[in-house]
């Protein structure tokens, strides 16, 4: 009896569960190292709209797609703050962008972002990409996902590095390779970035459901 019932039950479950959900595929397109990145105008947690063009003295940016909800993003919050504090004075501030759709990920709502920015005393802008237009243009797929941009003579922003912060998401004290810092050091010294692409496991971006 049991043997007869099992497949039927599983099929019934699947059918129902399958009907309740539909997946939205992420975009494979986006920037590669060497591409010119677009600017944006997104709302910061203080209510003001922020563009990279507002940072007159910046030599570039550490554009970071991150969020309130991903354990990896949370694990890297303090290191992102450190990165900003170390490199903003050298011309490379962090600009954090929350890409997640609020309906799919309610804890990434604007008020939740404001609370998080306040609790962690973010020294950088924490912007909401409500339409996910910027996230798609950049081709970010996970949180955290870093794009280090370098301002060119004509004012355009060239993608110099895409990847992760370092080689140990769990334990900042056990880090051996600081990928993002190495790239920033290369840029600050006027050199080519020697390792312009790195990868890490991260939370998939929560795309708006059709």
């Amino acid at each position: 009896m049991k043997k007869l019932n099992l497949p039927f039950l599983y099929m019934a479950c699947l059918l129902l569960v399958g009907m309740l959900f539909s997946a939205v595929p992420a975009s494979d397109n986006g920037y590669q190292v060497g591409d010119t990145a677009r600017d944006f105008k997104l709302k910061n947690t203080d209510g003001k709209l922020v563009s990279m063009a507002d940072y007159k003295d910046a030599k570039g940016f550490i554009v970071t797609f991150t969020c309130n909800t991903c354990p990896y993003a949370i694990a890297y919050e303090d290191r992102l703050i450190d990165l900003h504090n170390k490199y903003a004075p050298k011309g490379y501030p962090v600009v954090a962008i929350n890409p997640n759709d609020v309906k799919v990920s309610p804890k990434d709502s604007y008020p939740d972002m404001q609370q998080r920015a306040k609790d962690k005393k973010f020294p950088f802008a924490y912007l909401q990409d409500e339409t996910q237009e910027i996230t798609k243009a950049y081709g970010a797929s996970r949180t955290p996902h870093l794009y280090i941009l370098q301002k060119q003579k004509d004012g355009s922003l060239k993608v110099a590095y895409i990847g992760t912060i370092d080689d140990n998401y769990k334990d900042a004290s056990a880090v051996q390779k600081k990928y993002a810092e190495a790239a920033l050091n290369d840029l600050v010294q006027g050199k080519q970035v020697s390792q312009p692409n790195t990868k890490a496991i991260g939370c998939t971006i929560k795309w708006r459901e059709a």
Partner: protein, 166 residues
């Protein structure tokens, strides 16, 4: 409206789904990337369906029942479903095992204990950005391979398995 009833509907479904299955604690084997590579190179005429997930990954949890069901449906066929957790090894006893037990997971379970994705992701699949869920299907004997970096529907998973199943 739907949001509010959804969790209870799912809970009820899962209960029905798991209640009829015999209860036993599934083992979770902690592995390093080398062992994952060995799995990727298995020479058998078997379709391996390897799903990367984590207890903290909501879209992964959403699609887990589909993989579990595939594991049951193709039990007597050369199809092997393997769930590879990306949870931290430290969370094995406190998070992963309780989750596995609660959900009654029966597919083979591995936990990949690697902290630097950059050291191995490209070796496994250069197209993978590192976002999960992600799924590899392969049959090395028949030189078949496909990679999916997104959440799948039940229908998509079935289609994928049916396409390659020996």
């Amino acid at each position: 409206m739907i949001k509010t009833v959804l969790p209870s509907v799912i809970a009820a479904l899962l209960l029905v789904c798991t209640a009829s299955a015999p209860g036993f604690a599934q083992e979770v084997e902690v592995i390093k990337f080398d062992q994952l590579q060995q799995l990727r190179q298995q020479p058998h005429d078997t379709l391996y369906v390897v799903n990367f997930w984590a207890t903290w990954c909501k879209p992964c949890i959403k699609e887990l029942p589909y993989f579990e069901a595939a594991n049951v449906l193709y039990k007597d066929q050369p199809v092997k479903v393997i769930l590879v957790s990306m949870d931290a090894a430290e969370d094995l006893e406190t998070r992963v095992k309780p989750f596995v037990q609660k959900r009654g997971l029966k597919a083979d379970l591995l936990l990949l204990d690697e902290v630097d994705g950059n050291s191995w992701i490209d070796k496994l699949e250069p197209k993978w950005s590192g976002a999960i869920p992600a799924t590899l299907v392969f049959n090395n004997k028949r030189k078949q391979y496909e990679f999916v970096e997104s959440e799948m529907t039940q229908e998509e998973l079935t289609k994928l398995i049916e396409k390659y199943k020996p």
